[in-house]
Symmetry: C6
């Protein structure tokens, strides 16, 4: 679907031969038509700015980053200590992703500010996903907690930089418990509807309608799942401290690492290319 | 009623001789006039698309599916593992329905995406229903939990694919307890009005007005009923694992099965045709 | 008052001699002017449809039923089992009313669908009422629970058909406890105003303002009163099972029974006519 | 103030000599200018209807009743039993008022329906009041509960007729506890502002803001005060049962009693006339 | 500031020589420009009404009272007993103020109704205040409770006349506990923002967001502080009962007392005049 | 960024040679474009008012104070005691900041009223900050509590002057617990979103949705953190009482102290100038 849409939009710009729309489609999961149009436009603008005769894969890659995470913020100058914290934070995300089987491949990590973020770790699924299992959800939560735990392991304390990760992890765990029926204690009951409304058949008025004791169980279950995940992540990072240091050091030096560079830093073989679909 | 409405709408299109409006009427319980008009229109469009001289029963059947569950989503390509999960999920619904006396007959199961769903199991009542007994409600809940339990039994864990089933099962159980007076513990008291408003004679302002202890009892009763149902469903599927495997295997192969194909897969005789009313 | 209003409206239509407006007035308690005008109009329409030269008592009776409970739903065809459940349900209401001293006389019972209802039992007071005692309220609650308990006694389980009865019974019991000061435990305190607003002098903002413990007491008291009433109704119906069977059998056969037919089915003498006021 | 206003309005109508505006002023406490104008107009209309040459004290008295309690409802015909209940109810109010020192004098009692009420007992203060003591508030509550307790003592149960009394008594007790600081347990704390808003300095958002335990104390205190008052009223009426019977009997006969007739029924001397102010 | 504003407004009216704007400024703390303009206008109107050639200090004083507390209500005639209660109530406020070091000087007390109040006690600070200590807040609360406790000590019970005092005292104590961090138990935490909104960093939605146990602690602390203050005030008034009687007696006789008259009644030397600022 | 913006705005006014825009930029962290334009305008107005030929560093400094804290309130005259309290309060803030490693340098303290504040202590970061660690947050809280604790240590009680400090400290601690995941007890869970909305994946309706027990834990944790910080601050100020006295004495005398004057008062060497960036 996305590949076809991309080709329609791209028909209006001059393209270089190195562009593989199938790869682009795979790197833009969740993108709707407007996003893809945006990517093509941004790439054309970048090619024009650098006086290139045609739009190449490099411009398309940069355009995807920009559409995905916002413009680079070169004017935002972090202190040395802050930059170091960010480098370990992103390395934490990436290392947990690499060490946890079944997570999406790490495509890029960066300590260049973009949009609201001071750095970012980009994982790309190898295919579109329609179902997610409990194990996969727990793995995503671990990757989210990897940044924060890297800070804890290396610096002995945590900063305000992990706030967005906490929000996302809490959201996922809460949906596991309240929406997907994945908690033994709370049982196979929908406590909220998929769209987020509080449910249980009693939500026509404001506020939740389950009892405070049920709310207590939900709180306890959410806290337990996230704390257990965090403990596992901490252990994993402590055991792999030298890899974490190695990755952070190279990231500090190069500012942005692609999949192969991440693998090299961790002493892993380069990622095998995804098979080209027919 | 529906048969008459269908005939009015159908008077505007050319029909083949194989159409039995009485059968169509029975397959569209709950359809209002606009839905039925829609079915006739869709069928006419399909006949035109395939250059058929008249609208036949095949077109009408497809049109009903489309109006009931939304258009097919051929562009949505699931991974092999996802497709397998969906096949077992739908087979779970169908098998529980077949093994539970008093549930509506299984008319069709499919792993072709339609609308929001990745697959669907279609049960059709043999007649319109105006009253539902407690036993019948519990049976519906079991069928709803069959998909999720098939995933659990076969793959050892659950995916996000059962979310809509959970919402529907929770809604039914909650109405049994709060609206239909079917719980011994909560008693013959209406805790909400049929239209869903919280009730108990105290609901003119926002929020629930029964005590938190009553809310606790309701939560406990809802959880117990749904957990007991789930345990029975799990046992039933474990005992009939070979039937489940057989049904899922054929479904994976054929993608859509009608009532007779389901029966064949389960080693059951073909469904007897409904008697034609005078 | 109603008799005078009826005569004003009726002055515009040609009447047969059999019409007794005093009887009509007694059969329309709670009707306001517009309802009564409606009755006269419906009766005139019915007379016109059947080509009668004038409006007779038969047309007026049918018109009252139509205004009171909505139009007959002849197209709604229930299954044999559903019809049997409805017949026992209505017979349950009627039998409890007949066996409980001090309730309003049973005027008609029917298993013909009207408006939202699958059947109905019509009690008519012998005079307008302005005060209701605690005993009379408890009797009304028992009659309301009679339908549901007849289902339980005869079929061993309950259907969704008693939902509206539960809502009405819960509303009455709640008003006894919260509005009329008729519970020893809650005491002579108004917990809500007659018009339904939560009260206790603290209700200017949203939601209830009494404590959760008071809400618990209210819940417990409401549940107890309605459960006690239900137990008495169940015993009464079990003791009079043969009468219940007899009434249901005749109702299934005739579909609608008037007061004398109900009495005959129960082996009671015909109801004495109400004395004609001067 | 009211006397002057009355004279201004009365200057437009022809008056008989028997009118004492000072007495009228005393009988209309709480009346604002528009109410007083209303009284004069109603009195003039009554005089015109009965073809009187001038407006007399009789017309003014009837006009005050009409403005105070709404028009008589002669078309509302109660059953004998209902009328008897109303007579005892009003006699209960009146007897408690007569037997409790410090309450306002009983001016009139009636079992003729007016506005929403089936009967009424009218007490008139001898002067306008600006301060009310705790004892006076408790006395008012006892008079309010007198009607309901008379029903209990005489008929052994209570009707829906005491609902408005309960609302008023609950409102007074709640204000004693939450607004006037008259409960030892809740202490000299304002839990709501005089105008009824929930207070305690925390009420800027919706709902109450004191703890549920405080709400429990308030509920308990309100219930205790009103139950203690009711117990005293019941004892008083039981001890004076013969007086209650006597008053109710004469009220049933005459339908409306003035102060002297009430005194006569109770064997008390006629009320001494209020001294005429200079 | 206020003195300058007063002079601007006063430049438009003819003044007598006895006016000391500095004194006027000190007697109008909290007045904004519009209030001061109002004072000058009212004084000019009073001078015109009494045919005075110029506005004198007497007119300005009366104008301040009128702007501060509303117009005198001469038509509101209290009973003897009510007047006596008001006299003791105001004497209670004044006596507590005089006996508590560090409170603002009593400027005037009166039992003439003004605006909504039946009487008033006027304290004037000797200078504008920007900071208030915990001790000063507790003293203000004691003065507020003085009126109500004088009623209790003298008449053995309390009237509805102390309602406004309770509201103000509750408001002050609640702010001490929730806003100023002056409770050991609740600690140095802001439970609401200065402008009254519930706070604790969680108040963006409706209602309070601290736990019910914290609400309980707040309720308990508020109640304890106000009950302790009341007990101290009661003891003080009982010990000084003869002074209270003397002050009330003179107030009943003269209706309004200035600072020197209050001192004389209490056997204290006349208040030393405030030093005139340069 | 800010330096460039400043230069753009400053291009419209005549500048003296002593202006160092880099220093100005460092002293205006958090200022947006409009604020910086404001600073230049205010400085130009000040230069015009004092008839200076060009805008100098002195005018720019004053302009920054005005934009940051509002205009000076010279007409607000505090009593001697109030002034002394303010001097100790600000000295408390400053001394805690000086004695706590890792806090931002104290740039200025003043007891001249500005905007809503009676005095202020100005700390300026040496660089823009994007991440804040738990330790740094706790240090900020201690500085906020320093004013209030200085009042307690010196005067034995607290005034209403610390209200704004409490609000800010409570807000920071609450965010540590609910947003930044910095409490062991509450765990790495986001209880509200960064923008302040209550979260936990359940906040689509009004009010909080976690259980009351969780709210209790949050309350307890917030109170504990802030009470522990306060105890440490109190001990620090008691141990350094002579420094506190010295600083307050000089502040009372000079009304405003710059960084060097603060250091001198505390016997510390003058602050080393920040290195000028290239």
């Amino acid at each position: 679907g996305r590949e076809a849409i991309l080709k329609v939009h791209a028909s209006k710009v001059k393209l270089s031969n190195d562009i593989n729309w199938n790869v682009v489609a795979r790197r833009t999961p969740g993108f709707v038509g407007a996003d893809l149009a945006n990517v093509v436009n941004e790439a054309a603008l970048l090619a024009a700015r650098y006086n290139k005769p045609s739009v190449g894969m490099a411009e398309v890659e940069k355009a995807i980053d920009r559409v995905m995470a916002g413009p680079e913020r070169k004017s935002r100058i972090l202190s040395k200590q802050e930059t170091k914290v960010v480098a370990y934070h992103e390395s934490g995300h990436a290392l947990v992703a690499k060490m946890t089987p079944g997570t999406d491949p790490v495509h890029k990590i960066s300590i260049i500010s973009r949009g609201q973020a001071l750095g970012y770790t980009l994982q790309l699924p190898t295919e579109d996903r329609y179902l997610t299992s409990k194990t996969e959800l727990l793995n995503r939560i671990k990757v989210l907690l990897g940044g924060r735990m890297a800070e804890q392991v290396v610096f002995g304390e945590i900063t305000t930089g992990a706030t967005d990760d906490l929000t996302k992890a809490t959201d996922l765990v809460t949906r596991m418990v309240m929406e997907f029926g994945m908690s033994e204690i709370l049982g196979p009951v929908a406590y909220k509807k998929p769209d987020g409304e509080v449910f249980l058949g009693r939500d026509l008025s404001h506020g939740r309608n389950y009892s405070d004791r049920t709310a207590e169980s939900i709180d306890g279950e959410v806290r337990k799942i996230i704390q257990d995940s965090q403990a596992q992540v901490k252990t994993l990072l402590e055991k792999n401290r030298s890899k974490l240091d190695a990755l952070a050091a190279i990231l500090l030096e190069k500012e942005t690492l692609n999949a192969d560079e991440v693998n090299a830093a961790l002493g892993l073989p380069p990622q095998e290319p995804a098979p080209t679909p027919a």
